[in-house]
């Protein structure tokens, strides 16, 4: 996909949202597909989702949320709500990792995680991002660079572990 502009911090986080949504959709497709496609391993997709969301949550908690909390005093409640949702998601991620192989139990957990993430994404897209984008003191371009660096090092740590 050709790049036409640079992403800001919200775009970068939203790219994660969209990417995991694509993975959730592909997982559900394989979980329901009859015949040959049903045999394809969707467990790997589930683990990829877990990895992506773990890194995503980490850079949000370590970089994005503190920056927003500082620049946008009115955003504290929304940030708190987002952090709470991270907690729910992390519990599901842990259970998916424990489940190990794909099957009806993992299908249910992944579907539950998809719903939880969707709620979380909706809060960020509908409430948090507009506040961040409207905040005069917040340099979203610089924040994007920090998020990208954090993402890279967190991803390396995740895949090494």
């Amino acid at each position: 996909m050709p790049e036409h502009h640079a992403k800001d911090a919200c775009d970068l986080l939203d790219a994660d949202h969209l990417a995991v949504k694509h993975l959730f959709v592909e997982y559900a497709r394989l979980a329901h597909a009859p015949g040959a496609e049903a045999g394809r391993d969707r467990g790997a997709i589930a683990l990829r989702i877990c990895d992506e969301l773990t890194v995503h949550a980490q850079i949000e908690e370590e970089i994005f949320y503190p920056a927003v909390r500082e620049a946008v005093p009115g955003a504290a409640d929304v940030v708190a709500e987002a952090e709470q949702e991270h907690g729910q998601a992390k519990a599901l991620i842990a259970r998916i990792r424990d489940a190990g192989s794909a099957g009806p139990a993992m299908d249910q957990l992944v579907a539950d995680l998809a719903r939880a993430i969707e709620d979380h994404v909706k809060v960020e897209r509908d409430e948090l991002f507009p506040k961040a984008r409207a905040a005069p003191g917040l340099d979203l371009a610089a924040l994007a660079q920090r998020l990208a660096q954090g993402q890279q090092s967190a991803m390396e740590a995740t895949t090494e572990a």
Binding site: H5, L18, V25, P104
Partner: protein, 808 residues
């Protein structure tokens, strides 16, 4: 004075001739005069009648056992054709009368060829066959004078025109039909003696009509609604109508509520709005007071209510029916039609837009598929279970708001149906076709479903009014291919000309014909036993399990993928947002809380309802635990289909200066897969390309907007891309294709169009995963890109890019 009553022969002959020439009174004994047809007829009638001195089957009309095995009716073969005719003068033939009726034949059941009309090489005539010399002017007294009353040609033409319309169907008014055939995979003697299932490979002609329910005859095809899926099997033992829907359940459980439901969903009676929509006060007022509708509401709010095509939706018989074998043993069955092309739907934003640009979207799609030879095909499956099994189920199989989960009773494939012929004439075939749930054949029977009972009455009843009388079975499209012989007579528009004077049974004057078929050939109802319990007296009440209103609504919702669940929640949000009374919205959310807290919360959030209302009180506090809590078969994704592109439409955008060769490469590859790949231009017509041959656009951005296509190809070529970039239609085209999650291939320079349309930067990471359905390729790699594009189109939609509210 005669000496003896024994008269000489010549005198007897004259008397016989004389006696046979009266239509009233007669002698005590009849004899036939040689070579005299009249007296021979009388004598043969006498002999035939005398041969039946009594009604031999009369004693067998009594008692339960005889009721299960009625005998064939008695008959006496006539000595010749003379005694059964209406008139001796039938031997006088003309070009109008033709000959006498052939023995044992009802000629009205011949193929439709008997009523087909083609005007090739013919002059224009009146209805009476009088050639019309001038079809341009009425008859006037002088060129500027008054029109004359005697102008029978004008008056006939106007009078016929004035009466062209018949009443539209009260429900299912908007429909589209097609001919085809059903082919049985195997004989099913163990479960049914029904004609279509008598042998492997047996072919039965069918006529199918698909429809919406709420909208009027001219309303849009893509309304959110149930689709009628009605199949008329012309079997060799009579017509069987399987009058189903594309959803296996219904809103109500008893036909007593049918008029209430339809009154509530139809346009509101004071201002006749809205057309072809359930998103209004009266519908949601009614259903939120009828919690048994919750399960059906899940289906209607799902994408199943906005199918991509009639060829991509399932069909269901809805009710529990019976199948009966030759030994009279019966089982319960549920009917399932499964589309070969898979179950695919539109998305709501797309359905709304299509209804403006092409209200005939499904009708056109069906017609074009058949014209192109891409015949819609469905597999018929049966869920078969016994009465004993049914008694153990946690739900009642007589309840039309319940399914039998496929995980509980698997679907057994028994045959396929192919729709391979469009009607010649919409009115004569699709409009006049009359489906009736009462039309079943030996080997089938009804269950006691109280909704079905009402339907058995209503369909026949309504056709009498709609089609102008009791003879609608004689309208060519409705006539069986099996012989039709009974003593139903007369009435408006009667067509059959019955030979003979008998229109009653038993008779001896027609040799007993037509005689009752008896149990061996004829339809015998299953002697379902009524439970000998006290509560089985006459009563207006429902069985207790009918009171479980939410278990299967929850099953349906929980069995959907997250994207499908989103669509259901969004549909509830949309529909309820159109309601003007907040209390109706809140009552509906209160009802949903009993089915799914997740759904109720999501709908409430979308409607600004905070806090959540208390759940509705339940009619049954402690329903039986369900056998199945998740049924993957209920998701549309369970049936991706054969992955064929047949019947799909792809837009290739063109403007002067596009790169032609790469576009043509993709077009050829897509067309080779059976899709229709149209060149959609900034205008229609020929356009020069950057690299050689002109391209001839057959559609324009203006007349075929983007949401009408299943996928999009954007062209390379700087000049062409610049031309498209300055046409505002292009951006809408791309936005809709993106929003509706369709496959988009951008060749060469056209990635700039996607950027201009607002393709989000945040798509980059998803794009790297490779499942976005957005493809970018150099013109030189068009062939490889086409293959990838085709695989993307076969996936139908790429919901990974769907956000609420939408990204684009």
């Amino acid at each position: 004075m005669p000496r003896s009553t024994k008269t000489p022969v010549p005198a007897k002959r004259a008397a016989a001739k004389a006696a046979a020439r009266n239509t009233d009174s007669g002698p005590s004994q009849l004899s036939a005069a040689l070579s005299d047809a009249a007296s021979n007829k009388m004598a043969q009638v006498q002999d035939m009648v005398a041969a039946m001195p009594d009604n031999p089957t009369k004693p067998l009309e009594h008692g339960f056992a005889n009721g299960l095995k009625p005998p064939q009716g008695a008959g006496v073969p006539p000595a010749s054709r003379l005694p059964t005719g209406s008139t001796l003068s039938e031997e006088n033939r003309s070009t109008k009368t033709g000959s006498a009726a052939a023995e044992g034949v009802n000629a009205t059941i011949d193929t439709l060829d008997r009523v087909r009309v083609d005007a090739g090489g013919r002059v224009l005539t009146t209805n009476q066959g009088v050639p019309v010399a001038d079809n341009q002017n009425s008859l006037k007294y002088g060129v500027r004078g008054p029109a004359l009353l005697e102008d029978f040609i004008l008056r006939e033409k106007l009078t016929h025109f004035d009466h062209e319309r018949i009443p539209e169907r009260i429900v299912h008014a908007r429909g589209s039909g097609a001919h085809g055939f059903f082919e049985s995979y195997e004989a099913l003697p163990d479960i049914t003696r029904a004609a279509p299932f008598q042998a492997a490979g047996k072919v039965t002609p069918v006529f199918v009509r698909f429809s919406t329910v709420q909208g009027e005859r001219g309303s849009k095809d893509t309304a959110r609604d149930v689709r009628g899926f009605a199949v008329k099997f012309y079997t060799d033992e009579g017509n069987w109508d399987l009058v189903g829907n594309n959803m296996p359940v219904f809103f109500i459980q008893d036909a007593m509520k049918f008029p209430d439901l339809v009154h509530a969903v139809k346009p509101e009676p004071h201002h006749q709005m809205p057309q072809a929509a359930s998103a209004h006060d009266t519908f949601w007022d009614f259903v939120s007071l009828m919690p048994e509708s919750t399960h059906m509401l899940m289906w209607v709010m799902s994408d199943r209510a906005i199918p991509r095509s009639f060829a991509t939706m399932q069909g269901f018989g809805v009710h529990t029916f019976r199948m009966v074998n030759a030994a009279g043993e019966s089982v319960f069955v549920k009917f399932h039609w499964t589309p070969k092309a898979g179950t695919h739907s539109l998305v709501w934003d797309e359905a709304v837009k299509i209804s403006g640009a092409d209200p005939d979207f499904h009708r056109r799609d069906l017609w074009e598929r058949i014209e192109a030879g891409h015949y819609p095909e469905y597999e018929l499956g049966l869920q078969v279970f016994t009465e004993e099994q049914a008694e153990q189920f946690s739900f009642d199989i007589l309840d039309a708001t319940k399914i039998v989960p496929e995980e509980l009773v698997p679907v057994r494939p028994v045959g396929r149906m192919v729709l391979n012929r469009n009607p010649d004439n919409f009115f004569a075939e699709t409009e006049q076709v009359a489906f009736c749930t009462a039309h079943i054949v030996p080997g089938l029977d009804f269950s006691n479903d109280p909704l079905l009972a009402g339907r058995i009455h209503s369909y026949v009843d309504t056709q009498i009014s709609r089609l102008g009388g009791p003879n609608f079975h004689e309208i060519p499209i409705n006539a069986p291919v099996a012989q039709v012989h009974n003593n139903q007579r007369d009435g408006m528009h009667r067509q059959a000309i019955h030979r003979g004077r008998v229109s009653y049974e038993p008779n001896s004057l027609s040799g007993g014909c037509p005689f009752q078929a008896g149990a061996v050939q004829g339809f015998v109802s299953v002697p379902a036993r009524i439970e000998a319990r006290e509560e089985q007296g006459k009563v207006r009440a429902k069985p207790e399990k009918f009171a479980d209103h939410y278990t299967q609504a929850r099953l349906f919702f929980e069995s959907q993928t997250p994207v499908e669940q989103d669509h259901i929640a969004n549909a509830f949000r949309f529909e309820l947002s159109k309601v003007t009374v907040p209390a109706i919205r809140e009552r509906t959310v209160a009802m949903l809380r009993n089915a799914s807290e997740v759904l109720a919360k999501k709908v409430a959030t979308g409607l600004g309802i905070d806090p959540l209302p208390d759940p509705l009180p339940r009619a049954l506090a402690d329903p039986a635990p369900p056998e199945v809590t998740k049924s993957p078969a209920l998701s549309l994704l369970a049936r991706p289909g054969d992955g064929s592109l047949k019947g799909r439409k792809v837009a290739l955008l063109v403007a002067p200066g596009v790169h032609g060769a790469s576009l043509s490469t993709v077009q050829e590859a897509v067309v080779a897969q059976g899709a229709v790949a149209r060149l959609v231009g900034t205008r229609i017509g020929r356009m020069p390309t950057a690299d050689g041959d002109a391209l001839d656009a057959d559609a324009s951005l203006e007349n075929e907007p983007g949401f009408l296509f299943d996928a999009l190809v954007l062209p390379d070529g700087d000049e062409g891309v610049a031309a498209l970039a300055q046409d505002g239609h292009t951006m809408e085209f791309i936005k809709d294709q993106f929003r509706h999650c369709k496959t988009i291939l951008a060749l060469g320079a056209s990635h700039r169009l996607l950027a201009q349309a607002g393709l989000p930067l945040s798509m980059d990471k998803s794009h790297a995963l490779g499942t976005t359905g957005l493809l970018f390729a150099d013109a030189g790699a068009a062939a490889a890109a086409a293959a990838e594009f085709i695989a993307g189109v076969a996936r139908h939609r790429h919901f990974g890019r769907e956000m609420d509210p939408p990204l684009l």
